[in-house]
Amino acid sequence: MDRFLLAVRRRLWSIRLAEAGHRMLWYSGIALLALAGIHRLIAAVTMALVLAVVGLLAFVLLFRVVRQRPSHRQCAVHADRVFNGYALMTTAVECRNTSENADSFAVKTVLRQANDAAASWSPEISRRLRRTPTSTTVLAIIPLFVALVLLSLPGARFNAEADRSTADSARLPATDKDTSPHPGTDDVAKLRRIIADETTTNAHPSDGQPSTTDIFPAQHNETESAPEISNLAEPAGGTAGIASLAGNDDSLPGDAIARSTDSLNSRPAESSFQSSERVELQRTGPTLSTGTGSNTYSGDGQRREVRLPELVRAAAAPDSLAQSTVLSRAQAAYARRYLEQSGKSND
């Protein structure tokens, strides 16, 4: 009977281990599906986190199995249930553990019958105590497999970084092949990047300043240093804002203005650039004038001019251009530099 109960214990333990593994597959699949959802929708999930989740689940489930080692009594109860023992093994285990009525006919009868039953039941242990079907285990692998596939795809953060890197690549100087005007949104993105960079590099005006081709990338191929464009979102304040425009290069990128106008005009009317406050600067001599006095660009190719006093005021108070587009701000800043350069030359 002892050998039989030990065999039942080994079998029960292996069944419990298999069931724990089965549950681990299900729980892991569900947990990894949740992680995959996070990975795809919110933020990328690292492999370390995935392994940590799976490892924790495995540890908890296996720890429970190891801790819940079936006792002799539990094995006896299970054997009675499986082999229709009518509580024979259960009673026999209790008889052995107690010394009461050890000589009674009932105790001796139960022990004898239990030994006889153990001998006949032992060959049937593996057949009667069955593990979880393989088909169920295969079913448990499916959500795990789906989760792993989803986790192998790029995560949400990676997608955001990809967008950012695309924006960064747009800042790079255009190649000779790249002569076509970009859509309006690319120009706006470039100008925003330029303004942000200018803000950080005000102390080093000669370091890596974006050239005018960044603003007007289509036609300007001169190697002059790009004017520093102050970040008009920040009140530079008076002359400081103007001074920040000072660059090492005294050349006037006036031609760039004209070419920029051309580039702006070459934009299709159906530009994706939705702002209605775009300023075209046209160089008409020492002054810059607007045609209608309005700072709006209708997108129909008309040219507008900004008067010099207005530009001066704008330079002194950049916030007044807050309603203007980045493009107009950039152009106004460019105009401020132009004015500055003009002032120096007149001097």
Partner: protein, 331 residues
């Protein structure tokens, strides 16, 4: 070892021999006879319910003959007095003319007492049996008179002709170990009845299978049968399942039962299960023994709500639901 094996086998042999003999008298009632013998060797009293003419009296006689027991018989009527059952003191005069009171024992002073149609006796007379059933003694004139050992009461009652009858009180019902129902025999059984009982009384031809002493030995053997803790716990949960305020109460009990089984029912079911295990060739009780005896042991111990009874529920249907839930929980 061999000697102990023989003891179990000899017990089984005698039990099956008794069963066979009784089956010859009452044909087609194998389950009833098995349950009757179980109750008898568990040391409990039996309430037998059946239509007139089904052989209840014949069965009691056959049992007494087979066990070599003295049979006492009481035919209950509404005018039956308690002294008619327990006995009374009578005044006897000797030759000198001195009168003395002498106790004259009643029919209850027998090993096996058949109380026919107990529900026709008045509650006062019914209560006279309470002390006899529980204490196995009677008190008369301030004196205790012990009943013979072994002692059993087999009470019968008629499920029809309820006019002018007095239903047994719950306190007395609880003292019966089991309530057995005598079903109407089938056609084959009736045919066999013609062969055995047409021109003779089969009881008159019976011989004793067991002596009184052997009956006591069988009773002691049943007391040695082992009950595992799990089985005991299962029996306890079954009894508590009939108690609506218990933590183990079933939903059916909460809804329908007014009073559930008492702790005496637990003792009864374990004692009966021991004997059933011997019949099955086991020296230990199994869950199946508890389940098989739940109906006869519990059917007369639960009381339904009036509203539940008016809805058409009976103790039998409610008990079946409770038992089914218990079996499911213990599988």
């Amino acid at each position: 070892m061999t000697e102990k094996n023989d003891e179990l086998e000899s017990v089984m042999r005698d039990l099956h021999a008794l069963e066979t003999q009784l089956n010859r008298v009452l044909v087609g009632q194998q389950q009833l006879i098995r349950q009757l013998l179980i109750a008898v060797f568990a040391g409990g009293h039996v309430l037998l319910e059946g239509l007139p003419g089904l052989g209840k009296t014949q069965l009691a006689k056959a049992l007494a003959r087979s066990l070599g027991l003295d049979l006492g018989r009481v035919q209950c009527t509404p005018d039956l007095l308690p002294a008619d059952i327990t006995g009374s003191e009578i005044l006897l005069s000797d030759k000198a003319g001195t009168g003395t009171l002498q106790f004259r024992p009643g029919p209850v002073f027998a090993n096996l007492v058949l109380v026919d149609e107990i529900n026709r006796a008045t509650p006062r007379t019914q209560s006279a049996l309470l002390e006899a059933m529980q204490e196995r003694q009677v008190t008369c004139g301030g004196e205790r008179h012990v009943l013979p050992e072994p002692f059993w009461i087999i009470a019968t009652q008629n499920p029809i002709e309820l006019e002018g009858t007095y239903p047994l009180p719950e306190a007395q019902l609880d003292r019966f170990l089991c309530k057995l129902l005598l079903p109407y025999p089938e056609a084959g059984s009736l045919d066999a009845l013609l062969d055995t009982s047409l021109d003779q009384e089969p009881v008159d031809q019976l011989n004793a299978v067991c002596s009184v002493e052997r009956t006591r030995e069988l009773h002691r053997a049943a007391q040695q049968v082992l009950v595992a803790r799990d089985v005991r716990a299962g029996a306890i949960r079954l009894i508590l399942a009939t108690q609506k305020d218990s933590e183990y109460a079933s939903a059916t009990a909460r809804q329908h039962i007014r009073y559930g089984a008492s702790p005496r029912a637990l003792l009864s079911i374990i004692r009966a299960a021991r004997v059933r295990a011997l019949f099955e060739g086991r020296a230990h009780v199994a869950f199946e023994d508890i389940a098989a005896l739940a109906r006869p042991v519990l059917r007369h111990r639960i009381l339904l709500h009036t509203s539940s009874a008016l809805e058409g529920n009976t103790e039998r249907t409610v008990l079946e639901q409770i038992l089914e839930e218990w079996v499911q929980a213990n599988q």
